[in-house]
Amino acid sequence: MNDEPSNRRSFLKGAIAGSAVAVTGVLPGPALAQSTSASQNTVNPNPGYQFFNLEEQAFIEAVVNHMIPADDLSPKGTEIGVNIYIDHALANGWGKGERLYNHGPWKKGLPTQGYQSPLTPAELYRVSITKSNLACTERYGKWFDQISDGQRQEFLVALSSGKVDFKDGPSSKTFFDMLYQNVMEGMFSDPMYGGNQNKAGWRLIGFPGAISLHAQDVETYLNKKYTAPIFGIADLS
């Protein structure tokens, strides 16, 4: 497995793994204290989480590295910051329900009626990661970040088609649709939002980014590969 959880996380998961129903419960005091001391000796490859707790960090890192594995075309998801992009999006206005009409009554609705959950995006992630780990524990005996690559694939496919039953929770497809969209945003949005580091997503496809003028390029690059440098907003600010 190419994304071993840190010691800090292994310890915490050990501390709560004894009781599957306790995964969202408050951690006991000693565990928190020890996690603090353990973290001082750990190099976190993705510093700066604003929203995700440790269980959620492990989940999201496993998801983005499964969806965006390292190869000749790009580094893996965590190395291009897709997890950090999602964390920051959830910590900020969008995650807190900005521009979302959030008044009841809440009804399940039809697929043609769109998002009808009473949860903000941040709340949906929080509930759904817990439910996903519960479902993975039922199926595989372990949380999502601990299962094999093949099991991750099988589970994500099941999520994407809504075949995972988040008992007494949101539709797993609703969660997957948001997660997938956010992974793509983290790969292809401007690097200033935390993802697409080193413009890895843009390099993959040859997108030039925040270019200002293309009028001459219509003829210059007519059916020719565009080769000029790639700019992000920060490069031009």
């Binding site: 499964h66 969806m67 965006i68 594995p69 190869d71 075309l73 969008w94 329900g97 521009r99 979302l100 009409y101 959030n102 008044h103 009554p105 009804k107 609705g109 039809l110 697929p111 043609t112 009626q113 769109g114 998002y115 009808q116 994500l156 994407s160 997938y180 992974v183 793509m184 945003e185 292809f188 949005s189 401007d190 939002y193 997503g201 843009w202 993959l204 496809i205 040859g206 997108f207 030039p208 980014g209 925040a210 270019i211 200002s212 003028l213 293309h214 009028a215 390029d217 219509v218 003829e219 690059y221 007519l222 059916n223 020719k224 590969k225 565009y226 907003i233 490069d235 031009l236 600010s237």
Partner: protein, 589 residues
């Protein structure tokens, strides 16, 4: 406590194209004009500036320039048997908010609707017989003509800086333009935009098959331009960030850089932003509007703005909402078919193919809002016989990239996984190699497609949301099937490496994916109060000092985009108010 303000001659609700045009024209005529806009003042220099405007996440995905659904949205359902639920996040349509309205983020498509629209019922009945029109299709003649509007189309195209190629100047067909358009008094103010690869390929194939492709007319200035009012346009930079974005170059025509600054230079014009109108006020007789009630969003205080003339110039469905909230006119009842306000909601639809050409470099990021080639052989062409396919209306066909940015646009051939190494490899391989050929049809009105007030959900002001009941009908399916066949014929002629064919199937309208912001109807135009909310001057039959402008007055939708007609009707109404109504207030005839 409502503070009553000093009487104005005119109060305008909303500052997009229609509000801006009326503001300038009526302020220049010497009237005291007050405009109320719920959003902010933004400018190219300060807000649509480089490099920050080049941000797909902020403007496309997070919808920064759009109406904020947390304050006001609609509820939606497909038919009368469903329970309407709020559109909690906007998707299918995206009305703009702020000075300039949706004209800040449009891509500039500007068409002239012809008598084929304005006389739709009589022309179809005459040619195909009364039975050809389905019983539930509530189309009607508008009571206005192309000849009346031609000078106003011309005016709007000149003001908005439309680039294009005429196809019919005073009855003489012009090579390279649309031979099916109405006769124009002169060519477009600016030559067409440059042709990109996807447009060139489509153009060649369409010509080979005997069709008549031409550059899509668009308010994207193909070169630097000064319009007849002296407003300056920069040349379009083909930056690839057009639809959903403001333009830093002022190359995309909009009221915020043309008519609104001119109005603002007049001492008798006042613009109040962050001002949300909640109601049109009436006198005791109910036959006269006395002004509007609004909330200052900065302080939360409520004001009454009295005025002799009230102009509703908000986004199409917000105008209808205000009419329903104000109790002006009789709300439409889909069961009995009686009542008018809310009637004949219509929208767009279409089908499309995706073509992949291994080895091509389409550079989809080098494009303008209007870098499309389009053909009108199955819409504006009245000679096209609809009796076989059996539909009213038709479709235009087009190709070309427009705002194809990577969060939203990464085509891969069918069968490609959605993530993982194979997905990455396919995304990298095919991103540059793809183009689409699509149709666009106007939805025809149906007796069950309509607006009313919702009985459950409320907006930030405690007012009922508007409820939209809408679905596609058999006529849309038929247009889609015919269109798919033509699209596939053109696509196959190009012999792509992979072709994902166009197809049409019975489906319901879905509020989630973006489709089009061309919502029409609700306060429709007609020949008498029995069949319409407004006359041909967009003047309310119920309150003659109330004018309701915009696509909400269209009794049906077209394959053509609406803004050219919205703009022409705004100038037409401005002239009617200035030259006739002011001298002799009352019903214009």
């Amino acid at each position: 406590m409502v503070t009553k303000l000093k009487q104005a001659d005119v109060v305008i609700v909303g500052m997009g194209w229609t509000g801006g045009i009326l503001a300038k024209e009526l302020a220049e005529a010497g009237l005291k004009v007050v405009a109320l806009e719920r959003g902010d003042m933004r400018t190219a220099q300060n807000d649509y500036a480089l490099p920050n405007i080049r941000d797909e996440l902020r403007y496309v995905i997070r919808q920064e320039l759009m109406q904020n659904a947390s304050r006001d949205t609609l509820t939606a359902r497909n038919n009368l048997s469903q329970e309407a639920l709020p559109i909690r996040r906007l998707g299918s349509f995206l009305p703009g908010e702020g000075v300039g309205g949706s004209a800040i983020h449009w891509s500039g498509g500007t068409w002239r609707w012809t008598d084929m629209e304005f006389k739709i019922r009589s022309m179809y009945e005459e040619r195909y017989g009364k039975k050809f029109i389905p019983a539930d299709m509530t189309i009607q003649d508008w009571g206005i003509t192309y000849a009346e509007l031609e000078p106003y189309y011309d005016k709007f195209e000149a003001i908005a800086g439309v680039s294009g190629k005429a196809g019919n100047i005073k009855g003489s067909i012009q090579n390279g333009g649309n031979p099916f358009e109405g006769p124009r008094s002169r060519d477009y103010p600016l030559p067409p935009l440059k042709n990109i690869l996807s447009s060139k390929l489509f153009e060649g194939a369409a010509k080979d098959l005997g069709y008549h492709p031409f550059p899509r007319p668009a308010a994207n200035a193909s070169k630097a331009y000064t319009n007849p009012d002296g407003s300056h346009f920069g040349a379009c930079q083909y930056c690839g960030y057009c639809q959903r974005f403001g333009c830093e170059a002022n190359a995309k025509g909009g009221p915020q850089m043309t008519v609104i600054p001119i109005a603002m230079s007049k001492p008798n014009f006042e613009l109040r932003t962050q001002s949300w109108v909640t109601k049109v006020l009436k006198d005791a007789s109910g036959k006269k509007a006395t002004g509007v009630l609004y909330t200052n969003l900065v302080t939360g205080e409520e004001y009454e703005q009295p005025a002799s003339i009230v102009l509703l110039c908000a986004f199409a469905f917000n105008n209808v909402h205000l009419m329903l909230l104000s109790g002006i006119g009789k709300p439409y009842d889909p069961v009995s078919g009686k009542g008018i306000i809310g009637k004949n909601y219509a929208y767009d639809t279409g089908v499309g193919s995706t073509l992949f050409f291994e080895g091509n470099s389409f550079n989809p990021f080098i494009s303008a809002g209007g870098t499309n080639i389009v053909m009108d052989d199955f819409y504006g062409n009245w000679d096209f016989d609809r009796s076989g396919p059996g539909f009213v209306g038709g479709y235009i066909v087009s190709a070309g990239h427009n705002t194809a940015l990577p969060i939203g646009y990464r085509p891969t051939p069918p069968g490609t996984p959605r993530w993982g190494k194979e997905w990455k490899a396919a995304t990298a391989k095919w991103y540059q190699t793809s183009m689409a050929i699509t149709t666009r049809s106007g939805v025809l009105p149906h007796r069950h497609n309509y607006y009313e007030l919702d009985s459950t959900y409320k907006n930030a002001f405690g007012q009922p949301l508007m409820r939209l009941t809408f679905d596609y009908q058999e006529n849309e399916l038929k247009m889609g099937m015919h269109g798919a066949e033509i699209v596939n014929r053109i696509s196959q002629h190009l012999n792509p490496t992979h072709l994902v064919k166009a197809s049409s199937a019975k489906r319901s309208w879905n509020v989630v994916p973006y489709q089009s912001t061309h919502s029409t109807g609700g306060t429709i135009m007609g020949t008498s109060p029995a069949n319409s909310a407004v006359n041909k001057y967009q003047q309310s039959w119920d309150c003659t000092n109330l004018f309701i402008l915009g696509a909400n007055v269209f009794p049906h939708n077209s394959a053509y985009q609406p803004t050219g007609l919205v703009g022409a009707l705004a100038y037409w109404t401005a002239d009617a108010i200035k030259n006739h109504y002011v001298k002799n207030p009352g019903l214009l005839a």
